[in-house]
């Protein structure tokens, strides 16, 4: 296992590449999900507002 992690002495480079890539892809997906959620909330709020206005 340690041997695998050491990558023949190139650990910083190899893992630096792979982990950064994994990290950034995950960040991209999370950011997308976050954006989608806040957008949905906003649309719902506006819809509620409109209904409220119409009822008045």
């Amino acid at each position: 296992m340690m041997e695998f992690l050491a990558m023949g002495g190139y650990a910083p480079y190899v893992w630096g590449s792979y982990l950064v890539m994994a990290g950034l892809l995950v960040v991209e997906m999370l950011q997308l999900r976050f954006r989608r959620r806040s957008l949905m909330d906003w649309i719902r709020r506006m819809a509620r507002l409109r209904v409220q206005e119409e009822n008045q």
Partner: protein, 250 residues
């Protein structure tokens, strides 16, 4: 906008696109996980280390796919932008805008992984090699596109303006590439260039292709997902959005 134009693609109608993308995304997401799983296992565990570069060569499995993806997505983005600008097709505009962040991300990753690979192989993180330099300029083109999009408030105007920029950029990419190439070979200086891996072993090649496929599927999934969000944001007052929202939880 006045003449709604070409409707022969069924999915150009926003609601249809929204639904279709929503149905496709889970499949691509699943495929992405599977391909990355297999690719990473093969690349990091199964494939033997290189007799010259040792284990550092394993970076190739992400370096090459990201580099390809970065370049390809720019062209794709420009094509969508042109379609959006000329025929005023909303979905194309949205696709162009949605591709940009992913393309920039992959371009950045190509630079990053290349730099980390360069250290063990060349002894430095960076040389002003033609390929590296034009990749860097490509990143700037992406950033300029996104900055322009962000700087303009009006959505329609933003996508039109950045479409012009994307098209100008794509005409220039080959010019940039050749001039940079020429510049580098004219000066003496850095004689190190990106070396071809010596006749790749079969296992390496297969692994590489799996990883390339994985980044492809990932890009499709993410771009579609982002396009859906963009679409919602643009059409948030449309009736179909309200209808979709009744049904959907998240």
């Amino acid at each position: 906008m006045s003449e709604r134009g070409i409707q022969w693609f069924r999915f150009t109608a926003p609601a249809n696109f929204y639904d279709l993308a929503g149905r496709l995304i889970p499949w691509f997401a699943a495929l992405t996980i599977a391909l990355f799983g297999v690719g990473l296992y093969m690349g990091l565990v199964v494939a033997p280390s290189d007799y010259q570069q040792g284990d550092s060569y394993r970076i190739i499995y992400i370096h090459v796919p990201t580099a390809w993806m970065g370049m390809f997505l720019y062209v794709l983005m420009a094509i969508y932008a042109a379609i959006g600008l000329i025929w005023r097709i909303k979905i194309a505009e949205i696709m162009a805008k949605s591709i940009a962040p992913t393309g920039a991300l992959f371009t950045f990753l190509a630079l990053w992984t290349g730099a980390l690979w360069g250290r063990p192989t060349w002894g430095v993180f960076w040389v002003w090699d033609a390929r590296l330099t034009s990749m860097l300029l490509l990143l700037f083109l992406y950033l300029g596109y996104m900055a322009l999009h962000a700087a303009i408030d009006d959505r329609q105007r933003a996508s039109n303006a950045s479409a012009v920029l994307a098209m100008v950029g794509v005409v220039n990419v080959p010019i940039i590439y050749f001039s940079v190439h020429w510049w580098n070979t004219l000066h003496q200086g850095a004689s190190i260039t990106v070396t071809e891996a010596p006749t790749m072993a079969m296992i390496m090649f297969v692994t590489l292709m799996i990883m390339v496929l994985a980044t492809w599927v990932y890009s499709i999934a993410v771009v579609l997902a982002r396009a859906r969000v963009e679409l919602l944001e643009r059409e948030r007052t449309a009736r179909w959005v309200q209808e979709r929202l009744e049904g959907e939880r998240r």
